[in-house]
């Protein structure tokens, strides 16, 4: 059976290390969830309070959405971890195309 353990000779040590690592990761994920919740609340409040100008509110809530999505991608979808070079290439190529498509469609209706 090919079972290459990349770990040290003492499995207990690795388990302790992994437990610590995943506890740490879980902390980051709880923090990112709190941030996402906070950003969502601000976005809804910006629109719900009605006191803000259209020209301020729209770019502002779009910015909040982008920040929230970065949290989702990097922490919840683990893009902050090693071995995500190809996923980053695929996703950001998609994001580039997304920008071009939205830009094209919004300028084509200007006149």
């Amino acid at each position: 059976m090919v079972n290459q353990q990349l770990n040290s000779a003492n499995p207990r040590v690795d388990i302790e290390y992994r437990r610590k690592k995943s506890a740490e990761e879980m902390r980051y994920q709880i923090v990112s969830f709190s941030m996402m919740l906070f950003l969502t609340l601000i976005a809804f409040a910006t629109v719900g309070l009605k006191g803000f100008d259209h020209w301020f509110a729209v770019p502002f809530i779009l910015l909040l959405a982008v920040v929230q999505v970065i949290f989702q991608l990097f922490y919840f979808m683990h893009m902050n971890k090693k071995g995500h070079e190809a996923p980053s290439l695929f996703l950001f190529t998609g994001v580039l195309a997304a920008f071009l498509i939205v830009w094209t469609f919004s300028t084509i209706i200007w006149w």
Partner: protein
């Protein structure tokens, strides 16, 4: 490279089971390529929506975005989906710790929250059709709205069925390197659904209410 049929314990379970076999590596890579494609797909639907927003026949007095959308309903739907994203993070955390039952518990909660979201969306669409006669064929605005939001809702429905199928199929197998990558990829899909929803609640609902 580990073997797919191998039996594991908490001690021998690899640190990254989602990439421990060749099949898992391929699944991981292929799924991210698919997500890149999904980004382009949803971008084209968003672009169409932005171009056709509030385009209704002239002098028809049809309801516009600012007339139909309501903040509380969108807020509750957003909270359900955002929380379900966190619960699927918990599920994958337990998958990495080889805790099969805990993983099932959190995926189960994810499914309930997702079903709640979908139920709200069905209510919402029904409400728009009957109260405002805002239908798929009533205007260009209606077509673009239902295509974009409905496509996302379709993704939610598919994601629910996917996770549920995985759970039923693997209920008696326990965790191994054959099914762990499947659960991991399904959770990525579920997070991506929330990513798309962040832009939907911002671009469609919040920007619709701002004017």
């Amino acid at each position: 490279m580990m073997q797919i049929e191998e039996k594991f314990t908490f001690e021998t379970w690899p640190a990254s089971p989602e990439k421990a076999t060749l099949e898992a590596k391929n699944k991981f890579l292929g799924f991210w390529l698919f997500l890149g494609g999904e980004t382009v797909l949803f971008a084209s639907l968003f672009a169409t929506y932005l171009a056709l927003k509030n385009r209704v026949p002239e002098n028809s007095h049809m309801a516009l975005a600012k007339d139909i959308f309501e903040l509380p309903l969108t807020f509750v739907a957003t909270m359900l989906l955002l929380t379900s994203s966190l619960t699927s993070v918990y599920a994958i955390y337990h998958m990495k710790n080889f805790a099969f039952k805990k993983m099932y518990l959190w995926f189960g909660i994810t499914i309930l929250l997702g079903a709640g979201f979908l139920g709200l969306e069905v209510y919402e669409f029904n409400h728009y059709v009957h109260k405002f006669h805002h239908t798929f064929t009533s205007s260009a605005f209606g077509s673009a709205f239902y295509t974009l939001v409905g496509f996302h809702g379709g993704h939610v429905a598919f994601g629910l069925l996917w996770i549920l199928t995985l759970m039923i199929r693997n209920a008696k197998r326990g965790l191994n390197l054959y099914n762990a990558p499947k659960f991991y990829v399904a959770s990525l899909y579920w997070h991506f659904i929330d990513v798309v929803w962040v832009f939907i609640f911002t671009v469609v609902y919040l920007m619709g209410m701002v004017g």
